[in-house]
Symmetry: D4
Subunit: 251 residues, 8 copies
């Protein structure tokens, strides 16, 4: 089954939930943070996460990483659920995408039909609620109404092939992989925004004039037109989750 | 009574009304100010306060410290009342919070019921007007309609226990205390805004890439997502008044 | 009469129309300008003025110095009229203020009543048109509808006392004078915006972290909350024209 | 005919389509780009172009260079068409201007009337669609509804005289030419925005405090009030295409 | 006598010994200082003075403000003497200049001849020692051997006329006075170094690209070629003591 | 005995040898370092230490932290000895000071007399060599000839009282202790240089315009005249080892 | 004769002696200067010249523009002579080069032989003194002993051909000419130093990261290895005088 | 033989002699250079090389990349020889190292014994002269007397094994190789200087706070204590030549 296929003890994205440079490693450096917020981009690193109860969710702590208050047209956040936690529903006409960083969640749609999601599943949710059987770390994107011009087919058809491969071919929500030494061919400048969560590996992200060493667990917001480029370094693959708004008239 | 309990001659927050580094100490330094306004935060220090008559108030001088013109969704200001001064009412659907920095004020609600407030009282006002018996220094926050999702119970129930303790448990309007050497555990990055008035003590506030020495009497505005951190220094407790907008969907 | 009183040959504000550091003095410095535009203020110096025909005016060249495109809620511009030039009317519900820097203009209101204005007159215009008998240099402010809460009495009553004194006591549009060595007592931080035209003298303007040498003919825009301070230098009085939006609730 | 007149083998604006400093010359410089995005201007150089299918167009790749997401009120982009490519129509009430950088396109209006455009033609399109006979590189501007106060006469009258001269006298969309050593007389500061594509030559563009070497193929966005200045250098003429919004009340 | 002439109770340069912005005024601002040290200049303000016993002096505390360790070819320091304090002698071939900021000192030359100095006396010392009858604050300059090409005649001849006037006509050690609004005509760039102590008044010092508000009690070091300019502000005269090395071949 | 008194298992300065933010915690952040080198100061953090064999020492790895190549007049380094390691002798006329961060060393003077040193001992060495019985981490200062004007009495007399107290009263080589919240009273500007090793605790070091979070294990170099200030934070004492050159004529 | 050949009334390098942007044009801009001094270059513009009597010269005022105090190994200065002025001799083993910017001087060598120099003559002087018949403006370079490896033949042979051409072929002291639009092919980085005086024309000088508009009368110092580049602009030729130390081993 | 072993037509380090981003690619970008010179490091890229005849060499052009004038204690330069070119000898007590980037040279020692060197040979030269049979590009280091504490055995013994391996084991002159994605483990801070020539590949060099994309042909100087780090990117190996001064007492 879908669930059984990840029977190895080592969590898939363990450096997101337990980063090499954890907040406790910085406990003796008063005032130090790698987090940076500029008008055209932000780097949000684990020691800056502020968790508080999510409104309309039960028994869940969440940390908002990106929101319209910084100039984005979407919300990106991390939700920590426990056994018995239950999500609220997305506001009307708002699309919600879920990536299960760690653990298992059950989706229940308005007809009461349930489906279990596990780590590595990126899923589109319009009216479903989420409940949790085990401790979970979710990565969520909320999109403003009307910003997307296409729809993902209901996830049941997609679940199987997603387990062992890149699963969402539409470029709007990409899983990007880089081998060590590999980098973006284009030093991109475009009108699209990005929300990014680094799942595996490490490298250098250039954003505007700034160069940031990044590692798994770091999140990035890129405003429209910020020059951007990534190079993967070290001995393991880099994988990141990338939101990009496309297929719309920029006017 | 509530009023009598502060019979000591020394005003509670005397460094707010009479800062160690008063404007007169800077009178020989033409053009010098510690005030700073950047796109994601502001430090407003006493030598920059511009007092002028408050519209709709009688016999009151006010200095606006924060307003939507700088990107905030609230107004924070200081009002200097004298005996016989009387406030205007807040605009309709606008919530007003009052903190009496020094002196005594009388609240009168629409039914004509009065209540006396003294230093250290943080109070929620929807339709009450304020009049003053003695010279007062008030710290006020105006909040835009609809931004808060809960209500404080009418202050009469709250007055007594507020005198000698932290009194407003909801995190939205906090009194934060730090012992010397204590600092914020998290180098916070969040979508919420802050309005802050330093009531006692001194320390270092990091806002984005800037580090500011601050002391009682200084005010701060923090835009969403500015990295922020405080450390208390010296030999006395730091206490500050903190506005934070919470409990709402950031989308 | 009002007009006769300025019978001296030397124009009143000759350094505005003929600055000590004229554009021709900079003709051999390719790319050099003292003009500066930052997010919270702008300095606009004569070599950067771009004159083009004013829409709806006849035979008039204008240079816009401040506009909402830079974050202001008003328009400030200089209009060069010649004999026979005629203004357009302000858009409906828009207030217009005129300061005659040099020359003579005739006001005609909707009833056809005319009135002659000369240098040094700051005047409120709602529906009047302006025509010119001699070459004029006007300094104009356009204010968005509803931003002012008071009205100036029709200028006929004001003309006489205005000639030899500061004439507009309301603080919203001030004539500010400084003797050499004099400076602003407060290093101001406030929610109000400013539009400024330096009519006489020279000094140093501090805006945020920047210090600017300024002289007659320079114009400045100050966004809300930019720390600001001026000191007059040299051997003559500094006089500047200052727009400030006051008397309104900043919420 | 119009088409025959450019029978020389060398394309007119070959450095736009094949810049001296092509993306491949930078392939060994990881993370290097000359592109720059600041709050008041942007330089977009060829190695930063991101081409993807244009929505509503058939068989066409486009790269957006300027859009409202960066603060502009227009869209500027480059479209690569092939034989048989066909454009979508502009959104209703949106004006579209086309400059054929290389190749041939056919315009078809709603009545089915066709007209062929070739390199060097800047044309106004309200309801026409474009189809391509040969490989084309188009430079397009989309303008928001209502921003222009005048109309260009239908292009059929303009085509003939446009071939060998500067063809659009209204200043809103200018072809600007500079001989080597020539520079802008005024260091301009104005409320108007610009979109610029450098067609021939090279020089220095000063934007705010920054000085940029530029060459054919570079594109620039200038926000309102950014101080701006250009000097042409080298041995050949500089020619650039310039959008400027004029003839409207800046309030 | 020389001494009696300053019988007014108010010390002459009281703001040097008791500055408006004293260290105690800054005691609640942890880490704040106006002092600045750059490669081409330094501003040393009172809260940064570090006093320790002066080697070879008895019962005297001194604070070095300028030394060769920062690139200067002289030493400038402040010495606090008490009754009975006695200086060491200058090293051989080193010239020493003394300005008595406050109090009285007695000079004794090698022949045992004594002379009393009081506030406002700038004096050249080669082999004399200084002893103190009352609490003194001295400002001293040590000059490296061979750097001066002229000699001051023994002070006995100079004492009388020095009391009420500028007393040292050679430009090497100047007393500079400015009336409010007055400023340096030349924005100087020269190979000479300066050591400066502000005795009275306040103003703005521009050093390189930096603008510093300064007041009595502040000291400045200027390296060769730093662009420099001063403007006096406020209601009282500015007076400063200025060391400048002149009359030598700069090769 | 002196040695026995530290019988607790926990090493005294364990955060120097095993810092909270060890190099391995930064292994996934390519290119990241907290180290900073400016013309007037340097922060050298553990992930930047380059260890290589020390010339003239046997079986010892050393990392130079400060040297004259950066403008200092001393050398500061860390030496890792093992059982059987043996130091070279200091160059002639060079003074050497040793602080045993961890472990035990034996001093042997030219007469063959030995003495055992343990953690916390700061010792003056002119001609002694050092050998090691166990793994050691030494902190050494080399001073150029003639820079010190006093001598420490041979360590045998000093050993006993050093164990439980601050042991070197001369200010030249200080152990500085701060309780949490405590800070330097003076924002120091002086001609003296410093070499500093943070042994315990954490806080903020201001150097010039920069503010650095620091923790045990960090080293600092301060050039003459860099403004400097420290505040201790957290729950434990800060202790640092400080070299300062005093008691000499700065000319 | 040599002298007669410049009989036109218009001085050759009149913009050096009377710059378009003269100090008097900046008299109303307190504190403003275009002069800039950085560690690797300096721009010295006319409003910053400080003239004082030249030691060992009679009746001459000089302004030093470059000296070893800024890191150069030469001195560059301007000397204003009058009728009857007489120079001192260069120090022994020091070479002196003279360029007559305006007027006439007479050279007298040790044998008493005289020779008249006029504008445009660059001349090598080892032991000659200079006397002046008419008001002169000289540009002089002093070179430290031993830095040059070749010698110029005594000027008498060179005078004639120098009048109407570039006269000093050795690259060490060059006259550089640029036509409008022309620029340096190489963005030079080299170990050699430069002293430069702009005699005619205007353009842009890039020095390190800085871009400077320059015009006739401006002087520049370039330290070793500062990246450097010039482009001539406007309608007239640029000519500058350039000192460069070559032909020596840089070790 | 040594020479025959490189019989492949493709030169070994062709990107040094013919860089991907050649000066001609930048010919249309007036004033643009990637070269940077700061106080603690320099990047020297091909478009900034200034070639001129090398003193004491015949028929050779050289470009100095590093010299003591920038703070180094060595000289690094590139020499272009042609058939028949002949070097001068190094100054007495100066050591010279040669790396043949391209072509063949013959060494002749004082006894007249010759030896042929080819590309990839790094060789120590004390008294040998170099002559060239074919066009050569040499990379040379000159070291000041006494800076090295060891000697390389005469090259004849070393030639054979050098051809296909890293050949100089002493760390002082290293060949460093990195596979794509590989980076320096330590973010180094040390007292040693570096001279570096990138022979193959590309990556990112961090120097102090700056991040530089670099490619084959770029040269770097690193002053003592500049924090430094390299990461190799792309698909091919990075190889660079690195000078480092070690094995000496840093005092
Ligand atoms: Mn992208
Ligand atoms: Mn917070
Ligand atoms: Mn104001
Ligand atoms: Mn323009
Ligand atoms: Mn001076
Ligand atoms: Mn200190
Ligand atoms: Mn050069
Ligand atoms: Mn290294």
């Amino acid at each position: 089954s879908v669930i059984d296929s990840s029977s190895n003890a080592q969590p898939l994205y363990s450096k997101v939930t337990n980063p090499t440079l954890s907040p406790s490693h910085l406990q003796d450096l008063p005032g130090f943070t790698r987090s940076m917020y500029r008008s055209d981009h932000a780097l949000i690193t684990p020691e800056s996460h502020v968790f508080s109860p999510l409104p309309d969710w039960s028994n869940t702590l969440g940390a908002y990483l990106v929101s319209p208050a910084m100039g984005a047209h979407f919300v990106m956040y991390i939700a920590k659920m426990q056994e018995g936690s239950k999500s609220g529903l997305p506001p009307k006409h708002i699309e919600r995408f879920v990536f299960v960083v760690q653990g298992l969640v059950t989706l229940t749609n308005v007809s009461g039909i349930c489906q279990t999601l596990m780590t590595r599943l990126l899923i589109y949710l319009l009216t479903q609620s989420i409940s949790s059987k085990v401790m979970n770390l979710l990565h969520l994107l909320y999109l403003k109404e009307g910003m997307l011009t296409w729809k993902i087919i209901f996830p049941s058809q997609l679940l199987a092939p997603l387990i062992n491969s890149h699963f969402l071919t539409p470029p709007e929500r990409q899983i990007m992989d880089f081998q060590p030494g590999e980098f973006l061919n284009v030093k991109e400048v475009h009108y699209n925004q990005h929300g990014l969560l680094l799942l595996e590996g490490q490298g250098i992200y250039r954003l505007g004039d700034s160069w940031y060493p990044v590692e798994a667990g770091d999140a990035i917001w890129m405003a429209p037109f910020v020059p951007q480029w990534y190079a993967a370094l070290g001995k393991v693959r880099t994988r990141y989750l990338l939101y990009k708004d496309v297929n719309r008239n920029p006017l």
